[in-house]
Structure formats: C-alpha cells, structure tokens
C-alpha cells in the first residue's frame, strides 16, 4: 500500500526538523563536498559518525529490507529525506560506492549470504567500500582490464594494479573487475567480478596527492594477494555484465540506491551570495556591468541545464536529434560546474589568490578548492573530450 500524501508530508516535517536539530556544527576544517574528496582520517571519522547518525535515526536505506539494516518502506520516503538533507545543507553521506553502487547491486543480484554479510555495514558506515575498475593503462577502456585473478583451491590469487581508487586507503571492501581467463576469445568474457576484502596481505594502497594538495584516491597494488574464492559475484566470465550493471548505478540510475546526498550541490546563487560584499573599482562587484553580464550568462547556463532535464522527459520535444539531452548531460553539467567555479574565484578580487589555509581566504578557500576538484568530474568517468566524441558519433552520426 502506498503512503498517503499526508504521511509523506508529515514525514517531511519530521525529517526536516531532525536535520535542523542535528546538523553538525562547523568542525573547524573544510569538509569534503563529494565522496571523492575524503582526504584524511579526521574527515573520515567525522563523516562516518554523521552517516551512522542519519542511519540510526532511520533516514538512510529506507527502502532496503529491514533484515539487512534498512527500514522496508517505499522509496518515496528516502527521496524526501534526501531532499531535506540538501535543503538543510547537512554534510554528505560519504560511503557512496556502498550506498549507491555496490549496495543496490548486491540487493539485486547478490546471494542471501552476500546480502546478510555486506548491506548493513554499508548503511551504518562501519564498512567503507571502494571500486577497482580503472587501471593505469585502461582508463576509459574498461573491457581491457588486466588485473589477474587465478583460482588456487578455495582462493583466488590477485596480481596487478588499479588506480583512482576512491577511499582505497579507508576501504574494507572493493567491488573489483579482474581477469580470470586471459585466453577468452572476447576480452569481455575473460572478466569476473569480485566483492573483495581490502585488508589482506598483498593489497597495498598508496594515496595520490591531488591538485588540491589533498588526498582522496589511491593507487592500489596487488601482489600475490589471496582472497576467498567465494568472493566472486556470479560466476567466472560474468564480470563484464555485472560491471555494466554497476555503471548504470554509477551513472545516476537512482532505483535501488540507499539514498543520502553524495555531494554538496553548489549553485550559481551560492556564488552570487558570496560576492555581495566584494568591491571592484570602489563599488560592489555586482554593480559592474561586465560582471553582471557574466553572471547572467552563468545563471542562464544553469537554468538551461535544469530545463533540459525537464524537457528530456517530454517525448514530443525530443524527436529532433533524439537522445542528445541525456547523452550530453555529463559533458554539459561538469563543464558548467568548472566554468562557474573558475568565475567565482575570478570575481573575488585580490582575495581570489588566497588558498585553503589562509585565514583571510573567502569561505576558507572553498571556491578555489572546488574549482580544482571540479576537474575530477570533467576528467573522471570519460573526459569531456571523449564525451564530445561520443555525442558527435552517436547523436550527430559523425565519423570516428
């Protein structure tokens, strides 16, 4: 039976009040805006405690079964909880690879044992998850992954390397794509999918220092690392299929996700509010005609993205160059974000040159760091240039 409007409305009131009351005070250090920015133990412990608190209050994994730590109610409730998290500006639920990708995958395709073993730890933040897909020589070319997994009795022996492992140094488990059969005629058929433990001898992580000076990703090395054979998901050779299912979740399919906001959304309005007291030529920067023109362009770009999202659901308005809106979404959204953050720094006046750590930096250097971090989205998951090629070839039919 579906919930009544009144039930949903009452729930919204309840969860909004809870968020207001429990929104943690400023911890005195910059919190990550996305789950890809968890750089040190202090941030990790803060976010772990926060996610645990949200889960304990019953506002995470609401649509997951009760016996696995969920609440077993319809997904509408989680959507409302997520909206209220955003609206109230609370910190992120950082265990995104578990909550949004691995969790839904296990819920959908996992065995009873796997569900019982993994799901609750994802929700209560005890078990951090990471993903081992990308390799140093195979960024976008996932099907060519070379990490070797060789069956030896009731174990697999792993040798090779992964890279760009988000929270690799904090993770207890990894969703991992490895090659079990290098002889397979199709490269895809030689791949298998593992729910691999990270804390075993032979798996080492080396944090990568990012452009921001902080950490968040690791290189992950596998040297004769032994993991139990029952860590394989499905059967040998099914890795590609399961990886594609995972990517569906990663690329934004919300169905099945445990919920929680995975990133702090920053909008043009936030930038404009921050600029209200900035002076240029002895006057408020917001009175400068050139700046005003730039800001209106930024507002329009953001509005166009939101309208495009609306239009993409209206069939008759998507028959000309069909598919262009969803396929160009990543390219457009990430490039817009990058440009907006760059503009925000540019408009700060001389203070735009300050960085995180300077006590006079605006919002603690929030925009400077955010600008640098925005490249993780214009590069990760297929660079903007690759995205443009995809759109050109699939939507416009241009030659490779």
């Amino acid at each position: 039976m579906s919930a009544s409007d009144k039930e949903l409305k009452d729930f919204r009131t309840e969860v909004s009040a809870w968020m207001k009351e429990n929104n943690p005070a400023n911890p005195g250090f910059l919190l990550p805006q996305t789950f890809m920015e968890v750089g040190d133990e202090r941030q990790l412990e803060f976010l772990r405690e926060w996610q645990h608190k949200i889960w304990s209050a019953g506002y995470l994994g609401m649509a997951w079964p009760k016996k696995y730590g969920g609440r077993g109610v319809e997904a509408n409730f989680q959507s409302i909880a997520d909206q209220e998290m955003r609206r109230n500006g609370v910190p992120i639920c950082f265990n995104v690879i578990g909550l949004g990708w691995a969790g839904p995958l296990i819920n959908e395709m996992g065995t009873e044992e796997e569900k019982a073993k993994y799901l609750k730890g994802i929700l209560n933040a005890e078990d951090v998850w990471c993903q081992g897909f990308s390799e140093p020589d195979h960024g976008s070319d996932l099907g060519n992954a070379q990490l070797r997994a060789v069956r030896d009795g009731d174990e697999y022996v792993l040798n090779g390397q992964k890279i760009w492992t988000t929270m690799g140094n904090f993770a207890k488990y990894m969703i991992m794509l490895a090659r079990t059969n290098p002889e397979a005629p199709r490269k895809y058929d030689g791949l298998s999918y593992f729910l691999s433990p990270m804390l075993v001898p032979g798996i080492e992580t080396r944090p990568i220092r990012k452009i921001t000076g902080e950490y968040g990703f690791t290189e992950t090395f596998f040297t004769d690392a032994r993991i139990p054979a029952d860590c394989i998901m499905g059967e040998e050779g099914q890795g590609w299929k399961i990886a594609m299912q995972t990517l569906q979740y990663e690329r934004g399919a919300e169905a099945g996700a445990a919920g929680g906001q995975s990133m702090v959304r920053v909008v043009v309005d936030d930038m404009i509010s921050e600029l209200r007291d900035v002076q240029r030529d002895g006057e408020p920067v917001l009175k400068d005609p050139v700046v005003r023109d730039q800001l209106v362009k930024a507002i329009m770009e953001e509005r166009a993205m939101m309208l495009g999202e609306r239009r993409s659901h209206i069939g008759p308005l998507t028959t000309d160059y069909p598919g262009s809106l969803p396929l160009s979404n990543k390219l457009r959204a990430t490039e817009m974000t990058r440009r907006m953050r760059q503009l925000a720094i540019n408009l700060q006046g001389a203070e735009g040159a300050l960085y995180v750590g300077d006590d006079e930096a605006r919002q603690g250097g929030f925009w400077q760091r955010a600008y640098f971090n925005s490249f993780s989205a214009t590069i990760g998951g297929g660079t903007s240039q690759v995205q443009a090629n995809i759109v050109a070839e699939h939507i416009l039919g241009l030659p490779k």
């Binding site: 005609p289 166009a304 309208l307 609306r310 008759p316 000309d320 443009a388 759109v391 030659p399």
Partner: protein, 375 residues
C-alpha cells in the same frame, strides 16, 4: 528578486500535434530550393503557401475563438514558428501574430471583434514600433495630433509592403497610444523597403505623415504601455523560436557536409577540431529549445509576469547567440565552398545577424535580466 528557479516546462497534446503537423508541412513545402526561389521576390514568400498556412489555422492560433481564431494562445504558436525556422520559411505570420497580440492586449472589444477576424483569416498585419534604431529606447516620437493626423515615420516595419493593417505606436496628447492604419491610407511612396542582410525577410521604413486615423482606430489609456512592453517580449520570444529552428537546420547542413567531405583522405567530420564545435552547437541549440518551450509554458495564461519576462529574455539572448555561432561555424567549416553565395551556410549566417537585431540583441536582454535576477 523574482522566484530564481522557475523551471516549469509542460507541453500539451495540442502543442505536440501542432509541432508534428508544422514540422512535416514546413519540411515538405519549404525545401531549401523554395527558400532560395523567394530570396529576390518582392514579398519574400509564396502567396499560395501562405493561404495553406491560413487554412491550417496558423494565423489565428493565438486569436480568441470569439474573434475567429482557435484561442490556443502564444504557447501554441511556438512549435509552429520553430518549425518555420527549421525550414527557413518566411511569411508574415510573426508580424500578424504580434499585431493581433497588441490589439488583443490594448484594444476594446469593438476593436478586437472588428479587426482580429481579418488577421485570423489570413489578411497580413504588422506592428510599427521603432522610432529610431535603438530597441532600448522606448521613446515614441511619431506624433498623432489633435486632428488625429500622423506626423513622422517608423523604422524596420516587418512585412510592411504586404500588411493590410499596421498597428503603430504614437504620441498622442503627451501619452503613448496606438493607431491602427490601413494600408490603403498610406501615401504613394510611403513604404521605403530596407535592403536586409537576411534576404528571406522583408521590412521597410514607413512614412505615416498625413494619414488621418479613424476615431475608432485609436487606442489610448493605461493598457497601451503594458501591451507594448508585452508585445516586445513576445516578439523577442517568437524570433527566438524561429532562430532555434534555424539553428537546428544550420546544424543539419554542417553535419551533412562533415559526413561527406573528405580531405587528406579522411572525412572531415572525424577531425575533433570540427567535431567538438559541432557538438557545442548541438548542446546550445538544445538549450535554446528548452528556453523557448519554458517561456511558452509560462505564457499559457497569456499574462507576461516577471517569470515569463525572464523566460522570454533568456530565450532571445540564448537562441540568437546560438544561431550566430552556428551560422559563423557553418561558413567556416564549408571551407572555400562556405565563402560562396551558392552554399546554404550563407542563409543561416544572414538569418543570425537579422535575428540578433529584432526586439533587442542578446546584450540588451542580459542587461535587463541582470536587473531582474541580481538586484
């Protein structure tokens, strides 16, 4: 500050049907050869084709049913105008629609019931709003004296030579008013055609001096200023819708060439230097389309409120800059061919420059958006 995040976008079944019919009609009736055949004709369109459009009811889409139209509102006109732009099909449809809107918004019931049925029935009409060359200067200097005789002229009156009726903004007794002038009231030589950069369009400077305006063809009162303001915004939106269609057509032209032209042994569409800007045109055109239908949604009730004003201005600012970019790149990407009159890229680069100058250019609208969004 108005509500900063209005992102309403709806599309009715009626609009969807109009879009489908209009796109099909324009594609079939206005292939590029037909567009080119009209470039140097006096009126710039085929009367028989206009008659067909009138039979389809397009001239009366936004005219109330009581006045002989279908009463669907301006929102229903957007898919038609976009489709016309998609096929670069001229005709006095936009001019007539704006004349109807101005009458509808300022006139009394006697005037609308007398004048609108003719427009809905396909008798072309137009608006004369510009006293100088500055869309940002709303001063009206064309004088209507105490004897109701006009003194002065207007610039860039669209489709002036075919219009049977012109709605003119005038200064009367110190206030802005509207005068309705029939074509047969104009003196010989009063219409001085402009040589436009866009040869698919027609406009003229019109000297109204000496015309005696009938008493029942004068509109005065407080509604006039608001009706003029609304009509300018609707004009901006209709031009934006047309420019959106033209951008898509221009994109077709580019893509077709990139898929067939070879250089250095490769199809030029495989070069990222051409491929990526073409994707930029696609995504910009997508935004134009989202903006115009957003504005159409907010105009459902016909009222041009603050959100609708923002939407119209965004649509105009974005759609014309997109077409400017698309037309410019279309010429460049066609190489030597692009520099010729024979290449269709010229049609789009010319349309872009024309569209930019109608009802205020992109900067004009962004300047006004800044006041609406930032102050």
């Amino acid at each position: 500050m108005s509500s900063p995040g209005n992102t309403a976008l709806r599309f009715s079944e009626e609009q969807a049907m109009l879009l489908e019919v209009a796109r099909e009609f324009c594609r079939n009736k206005s292939p590029i050869a037909e567009v080119r055949a009209q470039l140097e004709t006096q009126d710039g369109f085929d009367q028989a084709l206009w008659d067909e459009m009138v039979l389809l009811g397009w001239a009366g889409i936004a005219v109330p049913e009581a006045c002989g139209g279908s009463g669907l509102g301006i929102g229903a006109l957007i898919p038609v105008v976009e489709s016309m732009g998609r096929a670069m099909l001229g005709t006095p449809l936009i001019s007539s629609a704006l004349a109807a809107q101005l009458l509808l918004r300022a006139g009394n019931s006697e005037q609308t019931e007398r004048l609108l049925p003719a427009i809905a029935g396909g008798s072309p009409a137009t608006v004369a709003l510009l006293d100088n060359s500055d869309w940002g200067d709303e001063t009206v200097s064309l004088l209507l004296d105490e004897e109701r005789i006009l003194h002065g002229s207007k610039k860039f009156v669209p489709d002036a030579s075919v219009a049977r009726m012109v709605v003119v903004s005038v200064l009367h007794q110190g206030e802005v008013a509207l005068a309705i002038v029939r074509a047969d009231q104009l003196n010989d030589g009063a219409i001085y055609p402009n040589t436009l950069i866009d040869q698919t369009k027609r406009s003229a400077n019109v000297d109204f001096s000496g015309v005696l305006v009938d008493e029942n063809n004068l509109i005065t009162g407080p509604k006039v200023a608001e009706a003029l303001r609304d009509t300018r915004l609707l004009g901006a939106l209709l031009v934006a819708a047309e420019a959106t269609g033209a951008s898509a057509a221009c994109l077709d032209t580019i893509v077709e060439y990139l898929k067939t032209r070879k250089q250095f042994g490769k199809l030029i569409g495989s070069y990222q230097a051409l491929k990526h800007p073409t994707v930029d045109i696609l995504t910009a055109m997508d935004s134009s389309r989202s903006f115009i239908y957003h504005a159409a949604t907010l105009l459902e009730e016909g009222v041009v409120d603050a959100d609708a004003e923002i939407a119209c201005r965004m649509a105009k600012a974005h759609a014309v800059e997109t077409l400017l970019y698309a037309g410019d790149r279309a010429v460049q990407f066609h190489g030597g061919m692009g520099f010729t009159y024979e290449c269709d890229a010229q049609l789009y680069i010319r349309r872009a420059q024309w569209s930019q100058q109608q009802f205020g250019d992109a900067q004009h609208h962004r300047k006004r958006l800044a006041a609406l969004l930032l102050d």
